[in-house]
Symmetry: C2
């Protein structure tokens, strides 16, 4: 059971059986599989990746946003030139350097009044999830609940810290609160400590479903009653198609139940890899003082990535500054694209599978975001995805990647964020051909 074979027998060979269990976990394989498959079928129409629309990307924007942030440091923050240089080039504050800009953005777009000191800027929202789970997982009894189907990144981060993920049923209004209560009781009876519940309240990945307002309030009350943290992940909230955005959990939170997880991957751009956590919970330290949960996350971060690249922070802050601290304004054109695409998807599905027709195909109707879910009369698994890509030229995501078990065999996720209107029509034609072939 040593890491390496006996000596003097040639090059080192490791055995995956001797490495951390996460490396044999389907959650980690999933992410890789989903990341790579698009590359293997470059000519297929892809409803697979949760990537933002590329049509408005321009390389020059990076330079523009960077210069905007430089001017902000020099003119608004009154930093002398050597301090501007230092901010961009040197090691920086572990919790980040653009916390005030991001806090202002949260106020403008989300009605969240966050103490900038309670923010931790991270390398994507993924690092924020990792930091929170690492801090909360003290021993094998600590578990995290997650509204299922859950984003695979949450499950993967939990695997890295050997933390059990307990599924909570979703519902048409977002989350089944009775099931959440039941899951908490079950966990506690089993000797577990449910530390937090993870969910995407707005246009969830993978289902596109949102929590309605009464459910948001009821969930917050339940969390306060049960002493449960809520991990609110909100990458898609800005991409509302209804014109009536609902308040985030964090903006309704009066007891500090919510750790808010933010991402600029869809609203800024993915290549910046910028995310953050708002962690304003108070923490009693060993010497009896009180600190912020953000400062505990910062300690973990100092041993994972030291600090978030200043360049990434500068470019995204520049984008926010250019648009009056508002991601809604910065994404005006993108919001329209996603809204149009959602309508085209729903109309296109309705035209190809009219009510009462065969094969029987159903889908949900999200109020925004990047995703919807289609239920098909057969198994929508990885093998079928390969067949679909090869024979029909269309990519999608098997829902089983978002479940622990097998319960979603007949559902597939369609992403409509990175496709043109022409690709939507062509892709839906191809998908319909696949469905007729499989159901036939």
């Amino acid at each position: 059971m040593t890491a390496t074979p006996p000596p003097e027998t040639g090059p080192v060979e490791l055995d995956v059986a001797g490495l951390h269990t996460s490396l044999r976990d389907p959650a980690l394989e999933s992410m890789n599989f989903l990341n790579e498959i698009a590359g293997r079928y470059p000519d297929a129409v892809s409803f697979a990746p949760g990537r933002p629309y590329e049509g408005f990307f321009e390389v020059e924007q990076v330079h523009t946003y960077l210069r905007r942030y430089e001017r902000y440091l020099a003119d608004e923050r009154r930093l002398p030139p050597d301090e501007v240089r230092r901010a961009l080039f040197q090691y920086g504050r572990t919790k980040g350097i653009v916390h005030e800009v991001v806090a202002r953005c949260l106020e403008v777009d989300e009605g969240i009044h966050a103490d900038p000191e309670a923010l931790v800027l991270t390398v994507g929202c993924q690092e924020a999830m990792y930091l929170v789970l690492r801090a909360l997982r003290a021993d094998a009894r600590d578990a995290v609940l997650a509204v299922a189907p859950a984003y695979v990144g949450l499950v993967g981060a939990a695997r890295l810290v050997d933390m059990e993920v307990l599924p909570v049923a979703s519902a048409p209004n977002g989350v089944d609160l009775d099931d959440l209560t039941a899951a908490l009781s079950r966990a506690r009876r089993a000797g577990l400590r449910p530390r937090a519940c993870y969910l995407v309240p707005d246009f969830s990945n993978p289902t596109g479903v949102s929590l309605d307002l009464p459910t948001r309030r009821a969930l917050l009350e339940l969390a306060a009653r049960e002493g449960l943290l809520l991990l609110e992940d909100n990458p898609y909230g800005v991409f509302d198609a209804t014109g009536e955005r609902l308040p985030t959990l964090k903006s309704l939170d009066t007891t500090g139940q919510v750790v808010y997880l933010g991402s600029f991957a869809k609203t800024g751009f993915p290549g910046a890899r910028l995310g953050f956590a708002v962690a304003d919970q108070r923490v009693r330290t060993a010497d009896g003082r009180t600190g912020l949960f953000a400062d505990e996350l910062s300690k973990v971060k100092s041993m994972v990535t030291v600090n978030t690249p200043a360049l990434s922070q500068a470019v995204i802050a520049g984008k926010l500054l250019e648009h009056g601290y508002s991601l809604e304004k910065a994404n005006r054109r993108e919001i329209e694209v996603y809204r149009d695409n959602l309508r085209r998807m729903l109309d296109g599905l309705a035209r190809r599978f009219p009510a009462g027709s065969r094969p029987r195909v159903a889908w949900n109707t999200p109020g925004g975001g990047f995703f919807l879910v289609v239920t098909v009369p057969f198994r929508g698994d990885d093998a079928l995805l390969e067949h679909s890509a090869r024979e029909h030229g269309v990519l999608w995501t098997p829902m089983r990647h978002f479940y622990e078990g097998e319960s979603a065999a007949d559902r597939i996720r369609l992403s409509f964020s990175q496709v043109t209107p022409e690709q939507i029509e062509l892709g839906l034609d191809r998908l319909a051909a696949l469905i007729r072939e499989q159901a036939g």
Copy 2:
């Protein structure tokens, strides 16, 4: 023992006793303490931080390097404009996008012939250390050896994965190989599996000491014989002051014992937060296939940071392209600054504490890098550092931050990378005043 106090009693308050043990560990406190103290005494001369020289930073370089990489993608890699945009803006390959450029640099500067597929670009070398330790730590028996005194970031990463760090004694030639053999035996008798040994062979942080060539060869032989991986961390190798660089362990490695950990924090700039691992070890996977250790690290990375910011990779690659893939060329001026500073430090110490004089003060003579170690006739601890900053206006680093125990109470680390000649003279005057006061 729940995460939160009983409900309906007001805002959430967590107790650090219920969070992960790493948050109560001195290693994590150290990093924060060392990161913050410079900020508390802005007017002190600082021999504390391991930061690169700032004199040649220019904001315009970021734009220049970024454009250089854009041209490389368009002209040398022949990517059409939409793919150049995609490379900079979208999600990218988990192992990184500039692997070929970095592999070429390793060949030019280090004589390391690395398969680009065996590289994983990371958010600083810290993430690379974390990925390696996370992958290698399967259960409580897995331990990592580290040549002591060791970089605090290695210890911190080990804490996050609950991995024991076993110290190996250093020696004037870098590492005490007899102690390494003894540590291996002791660990195995205790039922532990020593998976790897971490060291900085060139101009180590914190001691400045390097392994001589015979020790490099003997260490590689010992590692092959014992089936031990070597984690070679090389942030300072380029900053040689002798004119005779020694070969890296990786360039001498014929059996795949070495996982090479690279950093562009000192040779590029810290704000890019770019590092990498070369992990060309073969791994037997569960289905009997053989992969690269780099691909296992990539799976872990997909759940920590998803991928390394494209911007950071682009800017550092641009810097490499501008200088013929050579960090030595790119750092020609910096190498001279550090060499001059090292000479000034050694001369300045010798002038202030001539041979045979009192108080008795000793120091080592590194062949390059950022650091040297001074032995003083009293305790050089955090309390004295506060006093030194407040009363004498000079900062340095207590060596006890790099030890598990108390054995280095009389030694302090002096960094000479971020100071001017004037600051060196002033700082050494102030240090001499402190030493005379404490010894008096």
